[in-house]
């Protein structure tokens, strides 16, 4: 039987190597170790990127959606307790991203990142990720990452 894990923001920020202003995931809604993770980020108008992106029209940057998917993927590996030791102290580095953006994300949106493992080996992995708002896909990406221990 597989267990589903949920993580709150304090756990998320303890696990992620990033810190403010680059902690781009709020909570983990479900995590099936080694397989799949769903995380959530609420987009607020009062965030650091909006004064610049853009001054007259607030749009959450696509690159930050990719970063959110990458951080969600990191949480899949670091958030499962039994796997924690394997990835403790490991550095995750993005090697390649193939992405498509389908709709703009704006303040007030609730972004849900879903990342599924395609393949993982000791030196890296390939993930298939989507970002949805209200059930509609706003971005999708295939991420390849290297793990350095």
């Amino acid at each position: 039987m597989t267990t589903t894990i949920k993580l709150g923001f304090d756990q998320v920020r303890r696990l992620l190597p990033q810190a403010y202003p680059f902690c781009l995931v709020d909570v983990v809604e479900e995590l099936t170790p080694g397989e799949r993770i769903v995380a959530r980020k609420n987009i607020s108008g009062n965030e650091w990127m909006f004064p610049g992106h853009f001054p007259d029209k607030a749009i959450y940057p696509g690159v930050l959606l990719i970063e959110g998917m990458a951080q969600t993927s990191i949480l899949l590996f670091k958030g499962a307790e039994d796997q924690d030791a394997d990835f403790e102290g490991a550095t995750f580095m993005i090697a390649s991203v193939k992405s498509r953006f389908l709709a703009p994300v704006v303040p007030g949106d609730q972004v849900r990142y879903t990342c599924e493992v395609v393949k993982v080996v000791s030196t890296g992995g390939v993930m298939e990720c989507t970002a949805t708002v209200d059930g509609n896909v706003v971005a999708k990406a295939d991420l390849t990452f290297a793990v350095q221990r």
Binding site: S96, K119, T144
Partner: protein, 82 residues
């Protein structure tokens, strides 16, 4: 599917990932085509998905040319096809 067909399909998959359209069966991915270990992982992941097979991690270092990929994939597919 015979080996030639398989090799043709694998070549298409690899060409798309490494962004090189024309390469020989025995050209070395790393030395001749600029493939790194993460691209190799992408190649393996894409092949696994396309053919619904699993290529164990220990085969990764063996995969140096299109001929190698074809051999490894045929070996992995063998038990499924009978």
């Amino acid at each position: 599917m015979n080996e030639m067909e398989l090799k043709g399909q694998l070549k298409e998959i690899i060409a798309e990932i490494i962004e090189v359209d024309e390469f020989g069966d025995d050209e070395n991915f790393v030395r001749d085509l600029g493939v790194d270990s993460m691209m190799a992982l992408e190649i393996v992941a894409r092949i696994e998905k396309s053919y619904r097979i699993r290529i164990p991690e220990e085969f990764l270092p063996e995969i140096k040319t299109l001929t190698d990929v074809t051999r490894v994939v045929s070996n992995v597919m063998q038990p499924i096809n009978g």
